[in-house]
Symmetry: C2
């Protein structure tokens, strides 16, 4: 496994690859969810590049950039085991040199959900992903469905700016009890970890209502909200039943829908979602 | 010569090219300046792609998008003569489909000069150029030095977003009397055409002052301004002596400098520049 820290070396190594290249962009502190992305990429490509970069520009000034969990040695051991071919782990200075001033902005779908609570977040995401695409020039890039809006933003960017690669979405990996895997789960105390299950419970409840024929989006939002409010350690940012492409809130669920939520458990902000279709 | 109007066909034809590809992005109504770009691209690449696209997103609502001169048949005849291999001339709908909402924004250097008088202009330029780069995937792209700030913005975008191609700047081509070639010159009446020479005269005066050892940027700006104000058909947007990379106005000319100006001649806005080095 080759570990690369500079753009120049990444370019040079990339230019030697003759077969297809799959990119798995991550912020490190890898869990089963990331490893699923790597496995899928390995099946579909001759070479797999995993990037590890905690991207400062997608964190707000009040957010957890400093405390975001990091463990590069453990990450490298996990990736070695998964037989990832290349790991690209640049320093912040390499990606954002002095005087950096160009940004990719995806408008409209970034005004909703996460975009409301994390202004600037998707500008940071889109920009760093565009940079990684230009540096690695992958044939395919792999993203988890857990970050559903991020996935929608990246797809929109790729389509609008005619980027020449395929975006592959991989289903969310969950703990045995249903909690979505997330690097931020490590921040949860034992009590919070129990309380965090409320996100999955609320999503399962929405699924059940829908399975039983409920088609009022408002009804789903209300019942999920009531469930979560009953958990004293939880504080809701949003509960949404929306069109999966435009992310506009639905009134009637007359098409596939993205049910998503963002909930604080103590000082940790968690997100999760399911698709109704 | 192959004329292509869809992105899908452009991609397909591009994927068959094995040698280097040079891209010359234009808005059509070609003149000697454009043809110089094509010739330079032909010398340096196996295949030359010329794009012709009057990009609506780089024109302000009050600007001359509608009246911008167009003559695709003449353009194609000229390019045939120059042995351009491929012409990419998409409709606006192909480049900006319904719901388009992603933009490339280069900050700071776009706050100056043209950016002050044409808000949103460089966002439109950078975005369409990024799209053309992604569609054509050239090894080199060719831009005229006449649009000096555009060139600086494109270079900054390429560097910041790690786009994998070389930007080649080609010197401004001038009429025998010194007027910089521009598609907009066609709008000038005979009297305005005479008056338009004031841009070149002002630039030559700046060069002369500098050749004689003058190093005060303000002195250059003042003398150029005085010259232009003496021409009754001319109205100044700006006269600038700036750092060629950051475009910050200089006080003392203690390094290479970009001397640039934008001047209305009647209802036609002209720009021009020289480098002092």
């Amino acid at each position: 496994m080759k570990v690369i820290t500079t753009i120049a070396e990444m370019r040079q190594v990339r230019s030697q690859q003759t077969g297809s290249v799959g990119l798995v962009p991550t912020m490190g502190f890898l869990h089963e969810g990331h490893l699923e992305l790597v496995r899928r990429a390995r099946v579909e490509n001759l070479t797999v590049v995993v990037s590890i970069f905690v991207n400062p520009s997608q964190f707000g000034p009040e957010e957890d950039f400093i405390s975001y969990p990091r463990d590069p040695e453990r990450d490298l051991a996990l990736l070695e085991k998964e037989r990832a071919g290349i790991v690209f782990m640049p320093e912040a200075q390499e990606i954002y040199p002095e005087g950096f001033s160009s940004w990719v902005e995806v408008k409209r779908i970034t005004d909703r959900l996460e975009g409301v609570f994390r202004p600037g977040h998707f500008r940071g995401c889109a920009t760093v992903v565009a940079k990684l695409f230009n540096i690695v020039e992958p044939d395919r890039a792999y993203f988890g469905q857990k970050d559903a809006q991020q996935l929608a933003v990246i797809r929109k960017m790729v389509s609008d700016l005619n980027m020449n690669l395929e975006i592959v979405a991989v289903p969310t990996v969950r703990e045995p009890d249903g909690l979505a895997m997330s690097s931020r789960n490590t921040h949860l105390s034992r009590k919070e970890r129990e309380a965090a299950l409320i996100l999955w419970k609320a999503l399962c409840h929405a699924q059940e209502l829908w399975d039983n024929g409920e088609r009022s989006a408002e009804r789903l939002r209300q019942e999920m909200t009531a469930l979560i409010v009953g958990q004293p350690l939880a504080r809701i940012d949003y509960v949404s039943v929306a069109d999966p492409e435009t992310l506009e809130e639905l009134v009637e669920i007359d098409r596939p829908a993205l049910v998503s939520l963002a909930v604080w458990i103590g000082k940790t902000r968690l997100i999760d979602n399911i698709s109704l279709e």
